[in-house]
Amino acid sequence: MSKNYGIIAAFDTVPDVFHACEQVRDAGYSQWDTITSFPIHGLDAAMGMRRSRVPRFSLAGGITGFCTGMSFIWWAGAYEYPLIVGGKPYFSPMFAFPVSYELTILFTAFATIFGMFFLNKLPMHYHPVLKAPQFVRALDDRFYIVIESADPKFNATETRALLQRAGGKDIVEIEE
């Protein structure tokens, strides 16, 4: 027999799911999630979430890109094969700037995207929620709250009652 992953409740409108999130947050749950087809403004605060850490990856990528550009142009033009062109110096940060600028942006873009994939654990083609029959409307027009059984406060009866009080419909348990 497969393990219980958690409990899922459906909501029909954005205000419903928004206020339900506030109740679940205030009840002290930590391992739970909301499923919406688009990002709802202010839902992060309603769920008590911290600010995303993606910018750290972006900053690291940007610094790497800029240094790569500068050091590569110095290496190629002033170290590996020094060549005088138009009586100009072998290296100057001035003429190396446009290429370094573009590489800053390029590396930032890759770091941002891979950072987002890493934090979201994508690609993840298997997830218990994806198996739930009601998920077909999750990326369409309905909203869901999933509370995991791994949550320390999880209790099959109480959690179900909480979701019911919050206005959840079609509350079912989903398997691992």
Partner: protein
């Protein structure tokens, strides 16, 4: 500043007047709901292939063959098959390159700059405009890659990309042409990444719909690219942050790309090119031409798929006004170039501009002025903006005018060298004409494939701007 208000008490009149509350423009007509948006946009991909699509696809493929034939002939024979000869050694190849790159700029402007400025109307058109950007960059890249003749040298040993040549010498990083390689390849790459990130949630929707319909093959293909997206708000939080950062870095990117393209000219010493106005003037022109192309593409799409509820008259007004603003900036730049040529008192510069307007290429100059300066002025009038067919025709004029702008800048300056003995007149060869003509086919083929297989609007973003998406109830403002 806290004491400021008490030092100067508010005028009494303020309590008597009531500032008008301006209604927010409606972005989706007829109070459509989430379900309608999903069905409408997914329906385009899920339905059977319309006949008009096949007709357009066959015609576009035929036109694209002109480019393929032209390029095969070029590589097999040599760059001499193009019409370049002293003194004009740079002509349609760079004209076409700048033309296509410029068209791409509207996509990034809509997706990045309007995102940062919180212009919510961007949501209905950003997906298609970003796709347009990528396909325009593809068309643009053909020309610098093939103008080296032996294209295998474009990469290694690198005429373009940084690999040392057979003598071990590296590229000249002091050259704007080398900066251009980095600018354009970064632009192409970041545009693809941005587009793909925006697609992930919608691909998830497509995956679930195909799964529900039992079409497992298509569900697996869309599912593979959706990466297992499941709309988790913890994922949305990182996703939105990543999207915002991408918008933030795409903004300086898009401004830098056409700036660097303009450096190809501005850093040289040729009269008519050697001007500091070039970077802003090129960026304004690029956005102008890009919006021209967005309207050329979106207006037929709107009519064919009955998207009037999603691309409303307000959207068309906004696009027309941006076209008007940037077109007027371009017109200002034309007049300022003339003023500086006179005010700078450099006889070569002065000659270059008199020659542009009244020399052998005057016909091209006046086409440019007519299309770029006069055409957008019609958008001052509401009646014009509301006449969709007329807007579409005017947008074509914008495209034509911006091609001629690049032609005028590049060819007139080169055709009159410093000594009259080095003067010449450039005409394109038939191979050049075919190659350029065919790029419209390449672009159309790619765009047709896009509208057939990819949701043409970002459903997740359109849903987020309708009133039902407000967590505090739809009637509270």
């Amino acid at each position: 500043m806290a004491s400021h208000a008490s030092d100067h008490p508010a005028p009494a009149i303020l309590s008597e007047v009531k500032p008008a509350v301006l209604a927010r423009p409606v972005l989706v007509h007829h109070h459509r709901d989430f379900k309608w948006i999903t069905d409408k946009i997914c329906g385009i991909v899920e339905g059977t292939t319309p006949t008009w699509w096949w007709v357009c696809f066959v015609v576009a493929s035929f036109v694209a063959c002109f480019t393929i034939a032209g390029l095969i002939h070029l590589v097999a024979t040599g760059v001499g098959v193009w019409g370049h000869a002293n003194p004009v050694n740079w002509a349609w190849d760079i004209v076409n390159f700048v033309f296509w790159i410029g068209i791409g700029h509207a996509g990034t402007l809509i997706s990045a700059i309007l995102c940062l400025l919180r212009q919510k109307w961007r949501t209905s058109i950003n997906r298609a405009a970003e796709a347009m950007t990528i396909f325009a960059v593809v068309c643009a890249a053909i020309f610098p890659v093939f103008h080296v003749g032996r294209i295998w040298f474009a990469v290694m040993p690198g005429y373009l990309f940084p690999f040392p040549n057979s003598n071990g010498i590296w590229q000249n990083f002091r050259s704007p042409l080398e900066w251009d390689v980095f600018a354009v390849s970064t632009y192409g790459t970041v545009s693809c990444l941005f587009w793909y990130i925006g697609l992930i949630p919608d691909l998830g929707t497509m995956r679930d719909r195909f799964t529900a319909a039992g079409k497992m093959m298509r569900a697996r293909i869309y599912g593979f690219f959706a990466m297992g997206w499941r709309g988790s708000n913890r994922a949305w939080s990182n996703y939105e942050m990543a999207y915002l950062i991408l918008a933030g870095i795409s903004t300086p990117l898009v401004l830098s790309v056409h700036t660097i393209v303009s450096f190809d000219f501005a850093v040289s010493l040729i009269p008519g090119w050697h001007t500091t106005i070039f970077p802003p003037y090129f960026v304004a022109g690029a956005i102008f031409s890009g919006f021209g192309m967005v309207m050329t593409l979106m207006l037929p799409l709107r009519a064919v798929y009955r998207l009037e509820d999603l691309i409303t008259q307000y959207h068309i007004d906004c696009m027309c006004k941006i076209t008007l603003a940037t077109g007027t900036m371009v017109g200002y730049a034309y007049s300022m170039e003339f003023f500086i040529a006179w005010y700078g008192a450099n006889p070569y510069e002065g000659f270059a501009f008199i020659n542009r307007a009244f020399g052998h290429y005057a016909w091209a100059y006046w086409i440019m002025i007519g299309c770029n300066v006069i055409t957008p002025q019609f958008f001052w009038f509401k009646a014009v903006r509301e006449n969709t067919a007329l807007v579409w025709i005017l947008s074509i004029f914008v495209n034509v005018g911006m091609w001629f702008e690049r032609f005028v800048i590049i060819v007139t300056s080169l055709a009159r060298d410093f000594l009259p003995s080095s003067w010449g007149y450039y005409s394109p060869s038939i191979v050049e004409i075919f190659t350029f003509f065919g790029t419209f086919g390449v672009f159309s083929v790619l765009f047709l494939l896009f509208i057939r297989f990819v949701p043409i609007m970002p459903m997740s973003e359109v849903k987020a701007v309708i009133p039902q998406a407000d967590p505090h109830g739809e009637h509270k403002h």
